[in-house]
Structure formats: C-alpha cells, structure tokens
C-alpha cells in the first residue's frame, strides 16, 4: 500500500522484521525478499480504495462469546513423551544455551 502513511517496504524494513522474527538473511536473500514482499504489499494497495469507516474488524468469523470450561484438573501424564522429544534436557527440564537478558 503505497501511500504517505505506508511507504514502500525497504531493505531495512525487511532486515528489521527478520530480526524481530529471529531469522538471519543473507544479502541476496534480503534483496530477493524485499522485492517479493513489496510486490505483495503493492497488490494490497487496492484496499486503499475501500471506505472502511465504521466497519468493525472481524476477529472470529463465527461470533461466539463466553466459551468457558470448568476448573477441573486432568492428569495428562505427557512428561516422559515430551521430554523424550526435546532437543536437550537436564534434570527433567528443558536445557537451553544461556539466556542473556530478562523477559519483558
């Protein structure tokens, strides 16, 4: 969508989102993805023609509310299966390389 509010996607934008998404791109990939993603956003420029004032965004196609379950515990007993499928474990926990920085 090329309009003043939505400037054409740049290589820096793609590098930024790759970083947010925890992906590394080579320079060639960065060039290729920039072009391809910009094409998709260009196609989406057709939406600018629509008058969407007062239109509510759809979150769920079928408007259900208050889908709740009772607070009753279930013994799932999946620990062994889950730990067996983990890339690395130690003391029944998931082992990861050092975490630098704290959670937000």
């Amino acid at each position: 969508m090329n309009s003043p509010e939505t400037p054409r996607l740049t290589r820096d934008d793609v590098a930024h989102v790759a970083n947010l998404a925890r992906l590394t791109l080579t320079d060639d990939e960065l060039d290729a993805f920039t072009g391809q993603l910009a094409d998709v956003l260009d196609h989406a420029a057709d939406l600018e023609a629509l008058d969407l004032d007062g239109v509510a965004p759809m979150a769920n196609p079928f408007p259900l509310v208050n889908v709740l379950r009772t607070d009753t515990p279930v013994d799932h007993d999946v620990r062994d299966e889950v730990l067996a499928a983990a890339p690395s474990i130690e003391d029944e926990q998931f082992r990861v390389p050092p975490v630098l920085g704290e959670a937000p």
Binding site: M1, E5, T6, L9, D13, V14, H16, V17, A18, L20, A21, R22, L23, T24, L25, E29, F33, Q36, L37, D39, V40, L41, H43, A44, A45, D46, L47, L50, L52, V55, A56, P57, M58, A59, N60, P61, F62, L64, V67, R69, V78, E81, V82, A85, A86, P87, S88, F94, V96, P97, P98, V99, L100, G101
Partner: protein, 477 residues
Amino acid sequence: MSASAAAIAADVRAGTRTARAVVEEHLAAIDAREDEIHAFNLVTADAALARADDLDRRIAAGEDPGPLAGVPVALKDNICTRGVPTTCSSRILDAWRPPYDATVVERLGAAGAVAIGKTNCDEFAMGSSTENSAFGPTRNPLDTSRVPGGSSGGSAAAVAAGFAPLALGSDTGGSIRQPAALCGTVGVKPTYGRVSRYGLVAFGSSLDQIGPLAASVTDAALVLEAIGGHDPRDSTSIPEPSPDLTGVLGGGVDGLRIGIIDELMGEGVEGIAADVKARVEEAAAALSAAGAAVEHVSVPSTVYGLSAYYLVAPAEASSNLARFDGVRFGLRVDADTAAAMNTATRTAGFGDEVKRRIMLGTYALSAGYYDAYYGKSQKVRTLIQEDFGRAYETYDLLLSPTAPTTAFPLGDKTGDPMLMYLNDVCTIPSNLAGHPSMSVPFGTGDDGLPIGVQVLAPALDEATMFRAAAVLEEAAP
C-alpha cells in the same frame, strides 16, 4: 481407482471383506506408484495392518466399528497423530512425534477408519503447489509433469492415485479445494468452527479448517459427518452437532436459487482461464436443468479477498510459528545464547516461503503498520462477509471456479510468489467469511486435465451445498 469408501465400509461391516484385505490392496497401490508421485511423507503400513486386524477381530465378535469401518484414510502431515511423526513438511519438525491425537484423528478412529499415512504438503500449509515441501514435491497422478495443487497436494494426489479412498486436508485459503480441483477429486472446506482445529498445526488460526478430500461427494459427506460437530477443546468450535449430509444427498436442487459470482468469473479478478469459465457455465446449466434458478450475481468485495488474505494469514502465521524456537521440540541448531539458538534453528529449519510469510506477517503487525495492514484487512473481512450475506438473502448457494486454471507444470510459478498466490483468488473469500465451500470435479480443460467447480454456501449450510454437489457430480461430463 478402487472402490468408494461407502462401498468398502459396507462390505467390511457386513463381513464380506476384511479390513486387512482392504488395507493390503491400498498398500499395494502405494507400492506401485508412490516413488513417482510422492504423496506421502510417511506410510504407516504396519500400524495400518495392525489396526485392520483389530477391526476384523471386533467385527468377527459382532461389533460394528462404525460408518468408515476399514476405510484407509490419508492424513495431511500437519494433523497431529500420537507417537507418529508429524512434520508439516518442514525440517524444523523433523521426526517430531506429538504426545496426542488431533480431535479429527480420534473421531475418524471412532468411526472405524484406518490411518494409512501422513501426506506431503507445502511447508506449514503455505503454498498452492506442494512444491514448498522440505521433502520434495508431490506430482499430479493425472500428469506427473504437473503439480497436484496445494497445500494439501499429497492428500489430493493420494485420493486421485487410489492410494486411499479418503484423505484429510486443511484449508486456510483454498488448500483443500484447489488441489482437489487440480487432481479431479472432491474437496470440502467446512464452515469455520464446524470441524475442530485441535491438533491441527496452526497456520492462519482464524481461517484454518480441516476437511475431506474424496473420490465422491458421498464419501466426502461420510467423512465430514464423522469429523464435524462441537469439540470443547477448540474455543472456536461451533456448538452444533455434526450435520446430516448423507441423508440429504439425493435432495436435488429443484427450487433452489443459485448465483454465479461475476467477480470470480474474471469480471474482477485476473487470470481465470476460458476453459475453466466454460465448465462453470456448463455446471450452472446442469443445475438449472435440475430445477435450480441460476443467474449471475455480483459480490463486489470478493476482489479484495486476495489482498486481505495475504496480510491476515501471514500475520497470524508469524505468531503461530514463533513457537518453533528449538527449545522444546523439533530441530535445534546450537549457538552460544538462547536467542542465537532460536535464530539459527529457525533460519535453518524454515523454507523460503515460510520465511516470506513470517516476515510479511511480522511487518503487518509491527508498530506503526498494524492499522494500515492487519487492522484494515480484518475490516475487509467484515465487508466480504456482509457482501456474501446480501447475496445469500437472494440465493441459497453461489457458484464459481475453484482454481483459475488446470494443473500447471512443476516449477512454473516457484520463482514468483505473487503469481503463485493468484491460484487462491477464488477460494480465499470463503475462508475470510468463514463460510463453507467445496470443489466438485466438472469436466476437463483444453489440456485434458480436470477442472473443479466451487459451490459456496452460507455458514452452517453444508447440507444444501452437498445437495448441489451431488447434482453436479451426477451431471459431470
């Protein structure tokens, strides 16, 4: 092609044929052509035979295993099966064995079906040709130089090749209906919320639906009856029982009002081939001959579907696929820090199309762009749903092509993502609105390959949709 699911189940329940014989016959068909087609990521032959033997014992003991007794079913490899590898055709889930079954797997089991393997697909269901699989493409059984469509291409190919009478696929923007059309099978995307998504590895959560691929409308109806209905494990599951479809199939279309969507016949969207349009007009004529009042109708906002879809689906996908981080399951590529490990794992584990959509979706949600992209697209969905709503005030059903063309050659569109995305232009609007639609084979194109006609219905009216599909199946050239 071998017998229909309905016929197999009838024989097996009656004891005139064993489930083992049925499974062996299909395993033999797989043996004969699977190397060439590559419909499966995994054929679970031993488990299928063991399951068949168990069914045979139960039948011998006087039990009735259910309406799909002994029928082999192929499962798209993004549907979780306990203890059986579920890969989404991605390196990042290489050999991951889920500790649980998807609800649809449980329900098929309860109906007596026999899981025969996990089918190939575009990685994480992102694609329209099954070429985006980490394990290589699937080929169209009707012409192996062509794609089977996608993303449920392995499921469509398995049914078309006679590897299994039934398959499950998932449909986020056309991923059941488009391959069904390209492989000449029936493919159904149910109403959003009709079939539980519990155990389906999510792509676009507000769009995803599991549905059947089958050689006939009846078989598709049997599957949807078995897997549909409320599931408390999926909060978006509609609290309604599974619809009676097999009981209404013979109902015909006499007196129904049916509209052909102008925009999807090329008066709005690009690239609808002439032979495809011709078959849709012939299908309309067949419905008309069967007593329906058919006319052309405009559903104007459907032309915005593609744009909205390629913002909404990637946005949800970017978040859904964050969990593939190398911490708890699947691939890990080690590195000095947890964050570097996440990045190394994801960079090595995801293919290009997945990366493309993750980045597109991340962008569409990012600070400063949310309103322009994701927010706006969700409003467009409301417009599309309202537009359909207006059409359904006049018409019981709508009609359109399923795919713009017949199956295209492998490699034809892999270089240009936007060109590939255009395959979904006719199927996307139903996903955005949450409405049911299905593809029914109706003749062939100039190249002799199958063409599918799409029948669209308002939310929860699968029954009327199936009635029209049965008429089209009967009338198909």
